[in-house]
Amino acid sequence: MSAVSLTATADGERVALAATGAWTAERAAELEKIVDETAQLYETARNVDIDLAKLERLDTFGAWLIERLKRAFTTRGSIARIVGFSDADRALMEELRLVNQSPRQDGPAANGGVVALDSIGRAVAEIDRSLVLLAHLLGALTTVALRTLAHPGRLRLTSIMHHLERVGWRAVPIILLSTFVIGAILAQQGIFRFRSFGADMYVVDMVSVLVLREIGVLIVCVMVAGRSGSAYTAEIGAMKMREEIDALRTMGLDPIEVLVLPRIVALVIAVPLLTFLGSMAALYGAGLVCWLYGGMAPDIFLERLREAIWLPTFEVGMIKAPFMALMIGLVACVEGFEVEGSAASLGLKTTASVVKSIFLVIALDGVFAIFFAGVGM
């Protein structure tokens, strides 16, 4: 590739600039430097001719830089002309004479501290907004649910069954496996620590209370939020992107009734069932470890279990399950409706759906802990 250059012949206030070589995209960085230096060097020139006769090739990049050079002179009040271009380049130079005429609208660079404060402020406002949206959807859902109670025929049973299969039935294997493993680990750790002060038997108390009251429902909710909540957000989000939700509205159908109610009803039914199955699997895992690792015969384990827990222990876990399911479903649907046109927004909202619903499930668990302590369960 031949060298590019811009040679200058100065004669008092008159300067003649001659461009040579291929002024194209590949050399743009080099050319920009030459152009800026030339503009600075001949700051005092009053009359400038830019001669393009010796150019080998010219593309938009080169043409723009020549135009920029010319403007550097003209904004200082000098006279600058571009001469000697070929007929082929005339149209291009003409086109670029018209572009970038409006002043650049960059504001002053933002202060780092202000940016940080700004983003904190926005994040807080965002929390507020998402809580309001959650309340909105809960309200809309309640209205729709009450309306459906008045006209049970409007309940979309097929849709509910379809979602029940996806979020409930198909989740059973993975829920059973993970809770089984959690139960086993809890028991193993318990036996290992408690044995040093001869309190092996209390492992059963620890595991059973922990699993039935807290761990069972929490693990199930985390799994469901990751598995089904994300799917809800992605489905509703994709439907929103493709204007399917607008299509539903124009047909006089309520998206809450058609899309949200069946999904949330399915979750509210599925999560308690999964919690029950999960808790049993965890206890089974714990029992197995107590037997094989701790040397505690199964009938002794069951005996101890009967003494350690009473019905309210089990009820505490089960009562929480549907509320947590409602929370996961609401967050997932709210985030789904928040999706905007882009693929990135779909990803962002799906992530937000999972993170928010897991956090809110834990927060809700805390509220329930206070409540149950208050009522003595």
Binding site: A25, A29, D59, G341, A344
Partner: protein, 267 residues
């Protein structure tokens, strides 16, 4: 402006998927500095031929030469440098939805050229202005743009690296007749300004009449005819006859003739 150098030459191209043969020994030339309109029935394989030239679809037999180089026979780095000389406007625009209009245009420049942020911005804005968009679209995301604007931004992106050949896949589909006519005009202007060779897949009879220098017709997997619109109108082939002499074809033809008659008055 047109020369007799072929920038793209396709010889006996065979492309198929599974048992279906889409292109059966298709042969086609695109000459430097021309706008070639490429027509054919829906599903005839127009887009497939375009994609085969760009290298998105594998071919079974034949040769495709771009700038006299067989793209299947060259190494990675040479292939990249040839690809930089090609610009593609996809049918739906294919703008990156997570980038703004300005960033979409800057994307290829960022990848291939080492430009200062100032120059990068100025050139990208210049390209947007060249396709007829104001500076107000710069910060907008594709989802916030109208169909016509998406096509224009996509055209600006296709032109980002100052390519020598531009492929347009149905550029005027989905635009209203006025928007389509403006877009045709834009393609014509840019082709002259930038000295482009244009390969345009189209269904739009008006585009064929107003902007295309030559037309190639694909039918049953072969290019059955190539030439000017006059040759096409005289050609005896059932599909061509119904295409150009059908109701819509006659109207477009009529309009073009009127325009041709009025032209001396303008000049």
């Amino acid at each position: 402006m047109r020369s007799n150098t072929a920038v793209i030459s396709v010889r006996d191209l065979v492309v198929g998927f599974g048992d279906v043969t889409v292109l059966d020994h298709a042969t086609l030339d695109v000459f430097e500095g021309e706008i070639l309109g490429f027509v054919g029935g829906s599903g005839a394989g127009k887009s497939v031929l375009m994609r085969a030239i760009i290298g998105l679809v594998p071919m079974r037999k034949g040769t495709i030469e771009v700038f006299g180089t067989d793209l299947r026979a060259v190494g990675e780095s040479e292939l990249r440098s040839i690809e930089q000389r090609l610009g593609v406007l996809f049918q739906q625009g294919a703008l990156f939805s997570s980038l703004t209009a300005l960033q979409n245009v800057q994307f290829p420049m960022r990848e291939y050229l080492d430009l200062s942020p100032r120059l990068l911005e100025e050139i990208a804005l210049a390209k947007l202005e060249m396709v007829g968009l104001g500076a107000d679209v710069r910060g907008k995301f594709p989802a916030e743009l109208s169909g016509g604007m998406v096509k224009r931004v996509a055209l600006a992106r296709a032109l980002a690296l100052d390519p020598d050949i531009v492929f347009l896949d149905e550029p005027t589909s989905g635009l209203d007749p006025i928007g389509a006519a403006e877009f045709d005009e834009l393609i014509r202007t840019l082709q002259r300004t930038l000295g482009l060779s244009v390969f345009m897949v189209t269904h739009d009879l008006d585009s064929l009449h107003t902007v295309c220098d030559r037309i190639a017709v694909l039918s049953e997997g072969r290019v059955i005819a190539a030439g000017t619109i006059e040759t096409m109108l005289a050609f005896e082939h059932p599909w061509l006859k119904s295409y150009f002499h059908g109701n819509r074809g006659r109207q477009a033809n009529h309009q073009a003739q009127n325009q041709a008659q009025q032209q001396p008055i303008h000049h």
